[in-house]
């Protein structure tokens, strides 16, 4: 009797989990389907749940017309800014942890920089970019994303570096390694998992940014998020292009996150949960 009850409850749980998972994945499925439907199927009433055939013409159009360039822009700006922010933020974190630079206050001041809503600083930054002629350049966006991610990297790496035992560094110093070599050869390898996880989130933040890219780019350096919103017109909305461009922007993220599931909790909780 008890056995039967357990089995029954297990099935109920699985069914519930399956249902909930479907709710969360369905909109993504719908978007993916829109990108491969024919125009008639997109605007069909009642809606078509499964296209008669997978048509990749909207993707072909994106590449032929050069719109896919925006994904490349996203990749370059997010990628380069991630590398820069990681370098700047990690060394800063090391300085804060090992030398207590600035005491507790500096670390808190740095993380508090993430609190200010982007829209508040968007206009002054826009003016700065205009006067230095950085508008619509990838260089400008890279610099901005780097700056915006340094607080996050510093904060996260501070936690990871704190986990590294001090004795290792001491013995390396005694062995005659320079401080710079200690950082490079002892600390960084020890913090590899943390570096990787932090870099992934830094990349995602830059990749998902919309507001700054909207304000600071026009045509040359447009990122994929701005491109997606460009297909919403006042007269007509190009749903197949929206679907295809969105998929191009979402697929890399899915891939990245699938490979790093075990780091995700700590990264998302700003280090509050040590996974």
């Amino acid at each position: 009797m008890i056995r039967w009850d357990r089995g029954w409850r297990l099935y109920l749980r699985v069914a519930l989990a399956l249902g909930i998972t479907l709710v969360f994945v369905f909109p993504v499925y719908w978007l993916a389907m829109i990108s491969v439907k024919s125009p008639d199927e997109i605007y069909a009433y009642p809606p078509v749940w499964f296209p008669s055939e997978f048509r990749f013409s909207s993707y072909v159009t994106l590449f032929r017309d050069g719109d896919a360039w925006a994904v490349w822009n996203s990749l370059i700006t997010a990628g380069v800014s991630t590398v820069l922010a990681m370098a700047i933020g990690t060394t800063a974190a090391y300085s804060i942890v090992r030398f207590r630079t600035g005491g507790e206050n500096l670390a808190i001041w740095i993380i508090s920089q993430r609190m200010i809503p982007p829209i508040c600083v968007a206009f002054p930054i826009f003016l700065l970019f205009v006067s230095w002629q950085w508008i619509d350049t990838r260089f400008g966006l890279i610099l901005l994303y780097t700056a915006f991610n340094v607080p996050y990297v510093t904060w996260m790496m501070r936690g990871y570096i704190q986990d590294i035992p001090l004795e290792l560094e001491h013995s390396a110093l005694v062995d005659g390694l320079s401080r710079w070599a200690v950082l490079r050869k002892v600390v960084l390898p020890m913090a590899r998992a943390g570096l990787f996880a932090t870099a992934v989130f830094t990349f995602i933040f830059a990749w998902n940014d919309f507001l700054f890219a909207l304000v600071l780019t026009k045509s040359e350096a447009v990122t994929y998020t701005v491109k997606v919103t460009g297909y919403f017109g006042s007269q007509s909305t190009f749903w197949s292009k929206i679907g295809a461009m969105s998929m191009l922007g979402v697929l890399p993220m899915m891939f990245v996150v699938a490979t790093m599931q075990r780091f995700i909790v700590r990264g998302m909780s700003l280090g509050a949960v040590k996974g």
Partner: protein, 297 residues
């Protein structure tokens, strides 16, 4: 100075530590301090698309804030939206976490898929839901029709009582998984022996929750709520794709309004005053919250 002695100087802890942190401080000053100074100066000048008067004109833009009903409405929208969305995400996330704490085959697979919404760009999430709720070719009305057993035709992004719920659905869909993940991690660390002891002592569900579970998950819950509340307060992307603040100014949040003033109406000086107001409010709230958290510890 020879290269050798230079490198020895750089190696001294007193120099080395500042060398390491200098780039970070420089970069943060550039984007954290420069814009604030620029905002402060601009807000006392008189710059708009009709002309630029760089002389100081007193606090008239700050006075104007008080009479700007559109501003206060957008602020009210933002606060209300945060106040409703945050508890919903918290409760749903908690329930989901409870479900996944139990034995469940294929757990990590389910978790991976449920997390999908949180990693896609908010822009894409907004577009997706705008598609989902379309009154003609969106599947939401179709599914509702099946459930209701008759034709349902809700004009999600036109009818005034439906636009906010539509945005809410998209927002909750995207960020409940975040709450779920945080609470799941926190709940996994609750002391099992304490829970069993409470059960043996015959403690009620509520007592167990109040005395054992809640204190254990509190630190993580507070951080998760703080992260989400700050994000909700600046909500922009989802609303931009779903309604652009419309119909009229019905779904204008503070970020959308500030954008319109700065980049559509080019009221530069006034937008600087708004930015300062927002930063001021946020600072007050966060300082107050942090104090409360410290006191409770």
């Amino acid at each position: 100075m020879t290269a050798n002695s230079l490198s020895r100087t750089l190696e001294r802890p007193g120099v080395f530590k500042y060398l390491l942190i200098a780039p970070a401080v420089f970069v943060i000053l550039l984007i954290g301090l420069y814009p604030l100074i620029k905002l402060a100066v601009t807000s006392f000048q008189d710059i708009s698309m009709f002309g630029a008067d760089y002389s100081f004109n007193g606090a008239k833009h700050y006075v104007r804030l008080f009479g700007d009903s559109r501003l206060w409405e957008s602020l009210l929208h933002t606060v209300l939206f945060t106040a409703v969305a945050l508890p919903i995400e918290l409760v749903l996330g908690y329930l989901l976490a409870l479900l996944f704490l139990e034995r469940l085959p294929g757990k990590s697979f389910f978790v991976a898929i449920i997390l999908l919404p949180t990693i896609i760009s908010p822009i894409v999430a907004g577009s997706t839901w705008r598609l989902m709720i379309d009154q003609r070719f969106g599947p939401v009305n179709q599914i509702l029709s099946w459930i209701a057993g008759r034709e349902v035709e809700l004009l999600w992004n036109i009818q005034t009582y439906l636009v906010w719920p539509a945005i809410m659905i998209a927002e909750v869909w995207q960020w409940t998984p975040f709450m779920f993940l945080m609470l799941y991690a926190a709940l996994s660390n609750v002391d099992k022996e304490q829970l069993e002891a409470a059960q043996i002592d015959g403690a009620s569900w509520w007592m167990t929750f109040r005395r054992i579970v809640l204190p254990a998950i509190m630190p993580v819950m507070v951080i998760a709520m703080l992260i989400r509340a700050l994000d909700l307060f600046r909500i922009f992307d989802i609303i931009w794709t779903m309604t652009q603040g419309g119909p009229g100014t019905m779904t204008e949040t503070i970020s959308i309004y500030a954008y319109n003033i700065a980049f559509r109406e080019f009221e530069t000086s006034y937008s600087a005053a708004i930015a300062f107001l927002v930063i001021f409010i946020l600072t007050l709230v966060v300082v107050w919250l942090l104090r409360r958290v410290e006191v409770e510890r």
